[in-house]
Subunit: 354 residues, 2 copies
């Protein structure tokens, strides 16, 4: 009796960053944007009626897909949308990684990749970053079932140039190469233009970081229409209606306010530069940051202890208890004031411990 | 070159009902509720700020889970939520149907079941409904990898009694039995109370029909905490954050307005009875309807032609070009006025053709 438990899919689920909602907390642990969505979003929301919820939404999320296509100067049949880039990436793993050969991704990277591989029973091999946490393009030249890497990489914040992406795609024309550009808007150069040349390249982006809408859950992929059709076929085999009208309407609306967006990006890049300078002054080292976070270590103070001490001050950063990176903190770039508070605390910490 | 296409997951996607948005159309094709969500939902929406979208939502959707647990008098660890019951069912297929043995479901039923089985490569066997479109409990007594059926069944609208559900669960203690109760609130008796007795029974319901919120995308499953934990583990291996704050907050809010809900259900049941009487008068026959739709056929007029003629009048019903049911129409129960318009047209149609 009760053997039903034997047939449960055994998984080791992804552990998302904590989402505490504490008064006065400084939340620098899940790479959210410190600035609210564009005021245009609030205004559009004011005009929305709950009555539209009675009907199923547009299963194609056409308004959002068209807005993204316009924004990135591609055709609507080159755009796929999902419930955050995690949904888009999960669908892409299911859709494209069906070879017997292992897929390749870096050993230090977004920790959801091995989780998706496991849940979908996809063989995989991780390729170690070098001693400077750089991805080595030639590691991805061998025979494989597909390639995925983030650019900039997480949690390192390191951006590789377009030639690097091209090299990996060139050497992998027989499989799908996914470039996960969750953090591209913080100063990076997108591989989007390469999708015109390479029909096996899928570029994935998200509203959760640069667009200040982690809560709304919107991610998207851009690529050759054959890639997008295959993704949509699998999506329609899973859940016909994934995007609610708030996602569709507000997601389309925010793309219209490009000035607000650019202003936010400039502020965050500026704050990142200031924070980097201050961290250096305090003795921290880190790879050149090109995302909205800095991946920092200190020669004297163990990251785990720093993490705990910051927590006690109601400052949340991310700590990974993982090989090679267990002496690093991933610190999201917040407002100037938040980063000032962080640096002030670290300054006292360094003095007190010295 | 370009062999990447060989590794694409091959699927035959589910075809959702049309979602045209035409002025003046009478939309009786996808079983939506003709009445808007509770006014409490609109009021709550008015108070919501776009600023909360900056942060990731609660990955556990705790507010919604707790509200559902309160509402159904179960513990929060007995409740799983997803992006519509399609998301919940997709997760349940992935999580529980991992045997080498085929899962069982009716031959005439929700047409998404074989699609999920295909996409997740789950073997399945369909069990034919009898000549009155009834599910035969004994068909589900044999060895299998799991059982799923809707109650009331779709598109037949036939409700089986609790003893029927109990019989199937009793004969399948070694596998998970899923009862898909999308249409339970229109006069049926839920199998929820059986989840206290049987740890292998999962009951799935949705906000899309009775709760007037097809657009918001909320489905939920209730069962033993071990079932719910297994579902959550797979969910967290797929997408950590599936429910946006609108789903969480408005989904919880609407459960508070039980009077409005009951009033809607009574109106729809009343309209269903009137429509059934009128259809009978016009010579249609159909199984006793217990969902918010009627599955009707006429001895003289082919369903496909009726479907086309109704469409030309801007009245949309659902027609399935499938064996055994290709002479039936699935007609959603709308408002009294909408059903009056439908019946008036059918009356003229019958006269004109006679």
């Amino acid at each position: 009796m009760n053997n039903w438990r034997d047939n449960i899919r055994q998984v080791v689920p992804y552990t998302p960053g904590e989402q505490p909602k504490k008064a006065g907390m400084i939340k620098l642990n899940t790479n959210e944007n410190p600035y609210p969505p564009s005021p245009a979003v609030q205004q559009m929301l004011r005009g929305m009626s709950a009555d539209i919820l009675r009907l199923y939404p547009d299963p194609t999320a056409g308004m959002l897909v068209n807005a993204l296509a316009d924004h990135y100067h591609v055709d609507p049949d080159q755009v796929f949308v999902g419930v955050g880039s995690d949904d888009v990436l999960a669908m892409a793993f299911m859709t494209f990684f069906n070879s017997e050969k292992p897929i390749f991704f870096p050993d230090i990277t977004y920790s959801f990749y091995p989780v998706w591989a496991d849940v979908f029973r996809i063989p995989y091999e991780t390729k170690p970053l070098d001693e400077n946490f750089r991805i080595q393009a030639q590691d991805y030249h061998g025979e494989n079932g597909g390639v995925i890497f983030p650019n900039p990489n997480a949690p390192t914040s390191i951006m590789e140039p377009l030639g690097f992406v091209r090299d990996i795609v060139e050497h992998n024309r027989d499989v799908v190469v996914i470039v996960d550009e969750a953090y591209i808007d913080f100063g990076g150069t997108s591989a989007l233009e390469l999708t015109k040349e390479y029909d096996n390249l899928l570029v994935v982006q998200t509203y959760s970081k640069s667009r200040s809408m982690a809560g709304l859950r919107i991610g998207y992929a851009i690529g050759h229409p054959d890639l997008i059709k295959a993704l949509n076929d699998v999506k329609y085999s899973f859940n016909s209606y994934t995007m609610n009208p708030f996602s569709i309407v507000l997601g389309a609306e925010t793309l219209k306010d490009e000035n607000y967006f650019k202003d936010c990006m400039e502020k965050i890049i500026h704050t990142r530069e200031w924070t980097a300078k201050e961290l250096t002054r305090l003795g921290f080292t880190f790879p050149d940051p090109m995302a909205n976070f800095i991946f920092a270590t200190h020669p004297k103070y163990p990251a785990k202890e720093l993490f705990q001490s910051l927590r006690e001050q109601n400052i949340y950063v991310r700590y990974f208890s993982l090989p090679r990176i267990d002496n690093y903190l991933r610190i999201t770039i917040g407002t100037d004031e938040q980063m000032r508070t962080l640096i002030d605390f670290l300054e006292k910490y360094v003095h007190y411990q010295a």
